[in-house]
Symmetry: C2
Subunit: 454 residues, 2 copies
């Protein structure tokens, strides 16, 4: 380990107070920070981005429903004027627990308490072809790339008379029947019904197919049977083709093969089939469980360490009640974050720790306008009221008043206009759009010049 | 010229009606299209992007004041349900007037009437070092890159104890004292005063300098003397350092040299010093004037052609009243666009053409909150009322109700909070941010480890 400490050059001064380093500003990390306000400690947040992302609405950015700025929020605005709060843009690459030190892309730093809130990454289960050709939807950059790709596909579909090529550009395969997969399939079906028929009058939108592939026999496995069944009904009525009990065997960028031998020709496979924890290297191997999650006790302490903690998707709190940890979703992350912050205060003030108890307020997923499913305790709601609850809860948890207001106004306007107005191609991908068009053109067979006399 | 016509494969059918092709959907092109509604003709719009950009507010995107989505608008939403309107995403690379054909990146197409509305590009006046290292601000991608760069500069400034390096990251040189240069210098001064002191508590914001360089002895040359003088007063009071009568001699990415020998150390030179028309190759040379503008007559007809027209920044209407053409700004472009569309209708209906007459409604520039300058006929207004007029006019011309509402709400909220909330680093540049940080780190001299015992 290079021993160059980050502190002097980054002006993270030694304040003579305990230093709490939080890695990752997702739902869990952000709650830790907010709840630590007023603690006599120095708080340092590291993140690869300079903003918090409201992941539950990424699918709406990807399907042109919301602007990027509405669902992200700069960390420095969250941290505010408090002089004990520090933010550093950088990736933490290694922990050296014996020395209470982290290595980062911008130098190393000592900590008194370390909170790992690094969340989860897309899990391709070792399938290299999927990783190469599929489109993930886990970050705002992913969502922008997917939005650009969907719109470019349709612009490119106008340029060919080859029916197979045209179809492969208009057909979408979504893999994963959890909330993200269900929500994105529903949003694509709405683009097909309400937006693209006007935008692409020259195309026959009946040719656009949306497929949803799920390995288990039902949708929304984390929710009640009735929620899964109703979501399937909603999607079927919206024209989405469900492939339940099926998984993807291979994908070469053009042809998706399912495990029963079915093939689907599509240029776009959206991978929402799984996530794995993204722990930081350097912890001893015993602490890392299946799915790359970090084992923590009921105080969110990482197994084998006194001053290293983990919260949220990356943490698996293994207790009798939760033999596989809590679900990898926002509510447990937020509750763990708040609870851990209180326990760190307890440690600093030499008080006893309190064990974490998850309060399951329910779960929900939306399928489209007026269509959602909600489970709250023993109550199960579907349809318009569920959709209204979904909207209310998402606005409530969105960070920042301006974001709440912006999203609410966009939703109201979209509701009455049936429109999704952010169908923009902004931000260059690796290959230029003209390279893509040339690639498309290379597939075009010579056709007669209908129009030579015009 | 490859004779493959675009029509069959792009489904631009021969409707047996005149085909009007418009190249470029800026202020001019968009007005042509809107005004042509109801004409018995087929209308085809080509653009490199799938959205219209409201260029006057690019500087606010670049300085974190507005979200990207608020100032762009998808062309397909403008064109609406009208079956005679076609949009194609592509660049027009050549005109072959003898054959009434354009070549594009997606194929070739015949036209009956061609409207060139390709606008202007950043003009570096042949200075290769400037072109290589300076940041332009002409497209939404430019604005996003500049926003990312400004925020990254400050994140990177935290990582060094080398004062010269830190200063070069915190200092900004804006070149060009027209409206864009004045507006961006003012917005940077506001970031310095209201936003960055909270965001970067560890930095001394007195170290942040904003320089504005203008080759002539005054600002805002297109406006009245009092407007230029008052803008200079406003900027000086806001702490901007004016270099009037100075031009940039060289820039190597680190040091700006002015023609009087002054040097300014800065990592960021924002180039708002000039634009040149961007005509399409293939027109005969006589039609191209100094500054790459296309000479048109009082009917916006390109010199030497009957069925090729140009409007907006790319067009120079040379008449006795306008020996150098109209100013390269939105109002003449919009008026020419509307007028040309009516004249094309006249041609189709075999009526006489009417000459274009520019109605100068005035011009304006904003410097900061409550500070703008407005010239309207003989009336000159500065300060709060001018600022209010500026806001009203910009909201009026912004395309789309949702954009108007979004921008208005953002402005109201920023006005009361003194905040600019879109300070995000989204969208990767060519080099990764970590490469940049490594590059920054390579400049860092070894420093003592203040913090080893913490």
């Amino acid at each position: 380990m290079a021993a160059k400490l980050i502190s002097s050059r980054t002006r993270i001064a030694d304040l003579g107070k305990p230093r709490i380093v939080i890695v990752g500003g997702g739902f869990g990390g952000l709650e830790v920070i907010k709840t630590l306000k007023g603690t006599n400690a120095q708080i340092v947040l590291f993140d690869k981005n300079n903003y918090h992302t409201f992941q539950p609405l990424l699918y709406q950015v990807a399907t042109s429903g919301l602007d990027t700025g509405s669902i992200v929020y700069p960390f420095r605005k969250v941290l505010g004027k408090n002089k004990d709060f520090y933010f550093r843009l950088g990736e933490v690459t290694h922990i050296t627990p014996e020395q209470n030190t982290i290595e980062t892309t911008i130098g190393s730093l000592k900590y008194d308490y370390l909170v790992i809130a690094t969340g989860a990454n897309t899990n391709y289960y070792g399938m290299e072809d999927i990783q190469k050709y599929a489109v993930p939807i886990k970050t705002i950059e992913d969502a922008i790339q997917l939005r650009n790709k969907i719109i470019k596909n349709f612009e490119n579909a106008l340029l060919t008379d080859d029916n197979e090529l045209m179809n492969s550009l208009m057909d979408y395969v979504v893999v994963g029947g959890g909330p993200t997969g269900v929500e994105i399939a529903g949003a694509l079906a709405e683009l097909k019904k309400h937006v693209f028929p006007n935008d692409y009058k020259e195309l026959d939108l009946y040719e656009m197919d949306v497929h949803l592939v799920e390995a288990t026999p039902r949708l929304l496995n984390g929710m009640s049977d009735i929620a899964g069944k109703k979501a399937a009904d909603f999607l079927t009525k919206m024209g989405v083709r469900l492939h339940l009990g099926q998984s993807v065997k291979s994908y070469d960028g053009h042809t998706v093969e399912l495990n029963d031998g079915t093939t689907i020709i599509s240029r776009t496979l959206i991978w929402a089939a799984g996530v794995a924890g993204s722990p930081i290297p350097g912890l001893h191997e015993d602490a890392i469980l299946r799915g790359n999650r970090i084992q923590v006790d009921e105080f969110n302490r990482v197994k084998g360490y006194d001053n290293i903690f983990a919260v949220g998707d990356v943490a698996a709190m293994i207790t009798e009640d939760t033999p596989r940890g809590h679900p990898m979703m926002a509510p447990p992350a937020m509750q763990q974050g708040r609870h851990l912050a209180r326990n760190i205060k307890n440690i600093i003030q030499k008080r006893n720790l309190k064990p974490f108890k998850y309060l399951d307020k329910g779960s929900m997923a939306t399928v489209g306008r007026n269509k959602a499913v909600v489970d709250m305790g023993k109550i199960r709601i579907q349809g318009f009221i569920a959709w209204f609850i979904w909207i209310f809860v998402h606005l409530l948890y969105l960070v920042g008043f301006r974001n709440k207001l912006g999203v609410l106004l966009t939703w109201i306007s979209s509701y009455f206009s049936y429109d999704k107005s952010h169908r923009l191609i902004i931000g260059r991908s690796g290959t230029s759009e003209f390279e893509e068009i040339l690639e498309i053109n290379s597939h075009i067979k010579p056709t007669k010049d209908e129009n030579q006399n015009s």
